[in-house]
Symmetry: C2
Subunit: 214 residues, 2 copies
Amino acid sequence: MVKALILIADGTEEMEFTITYDTLVRAGIECTSAFVPRGLSPYGSSDTSPPLAVCSRRVKILPDVTLDPLAAGPEKYDALVIPGGMGGAVTMAGSTEVQNLVRSYYNHPEKRIIGMICAGSKVAITAKLPGQPITSHPSVQSDFSVAIDFDYREQDVVVSDAVPGKATLVTSRGPGTAFPFVFTLIELLCGKEKRDEIVGPMIFPSGTVTGYPL
Amino acid sequence: MVKALILIADGTEEMEFTITYDTLVRAGIECTSAFVPRGLSPYGSSDTSPPLAVCSRRVKILPDVTLDPLAAGPEKYDALVIPGGMGGAVTMAGSTEVQNLVRSYYNHPEKRIIGMICAGSKVAITAKLPGQPITSHPSVQSDFSVAIDFDYREQDVVVSDAVPGKATLVTSRGPGTAFPFVFTLIELLCGKEKRDEIVGPMIFPSGTVTGYPL
């Protein structure tokens, strides 16, 4: 079974989190949400009862687990997803454990997928991923012009396989592109057939598919 | 301040709930989520600590309050929203308290707005609203052909002002139409200008607005 780990923190954008989690589950992917506290211990957390994440517009979500870096690695999951929402993204970008986790997925010998949406793309910088095609919410675009050689693109979804043998990096722009983002992840993880199978019952606006014009 | 009450139950579709709540908050609307237990007491609930709603794809959301019919009426809120997700919609449709609540919004002398999306439209039947233009998830379309004279439409969003002086009923089809659904609610509650103001930062796919082709 394909497995995905989705991070969540106080201030996470609840639509980006929920659209991703729910749609991955619809594709038969086993999802685990992991709470990233501010100031996560480098030795992991012994808290088996995660705190509620108070999201960017005050929706309160109970994560499945608190992030334990020792149990969150690419040996266990096929994909790692980092949602946006400025508050949550700042917490994740500033977390040494999240930075290390992203690098472990990026460098895993069995090619993994890393998804980042909206302000979540900030983590590509703090995790020191090599410069490559990327996008983000426009409000953090300027972060990518400083110090690191990213190829910033104003596209809804950017799929980067810039470095052979490394993880595929999938980035996207905001809540409005969350559907194209998660369907790209599903196509990469489960194939186009699975993607097409689950689009139908979700009933996208007439004249579109996953919110895209036909 | 414009206020909206959004119902939630075990089995509610978490994208439909979250997209609606979050986007209404972005428009400056004060949102309250109210948990509908299976078998809600007709005297309201004394439980001030609502239980977690386990949604349709296992996202766990902590509602703001447990539904207390005495505090949930149209004197307090401008809009009532009923999300889909079959499990949650069946609970709401079967709840006498929810049926009474929907009728109280429908008949309030100061015109209110009732939003129903996906299987949530089932509540229009059990609340015995008068036959009028309506839509829903296709999986529950056949419910509308039985016994009640609804004018079923296969449109993304249906706005009905069928009966003068009664509430405006806004219905929609599924998670894929949740953005057009909530933007219709915002336009009705706050005007087109507010709607246009919040669309931009959400970054909808290129060539679309709120997921619609331009």
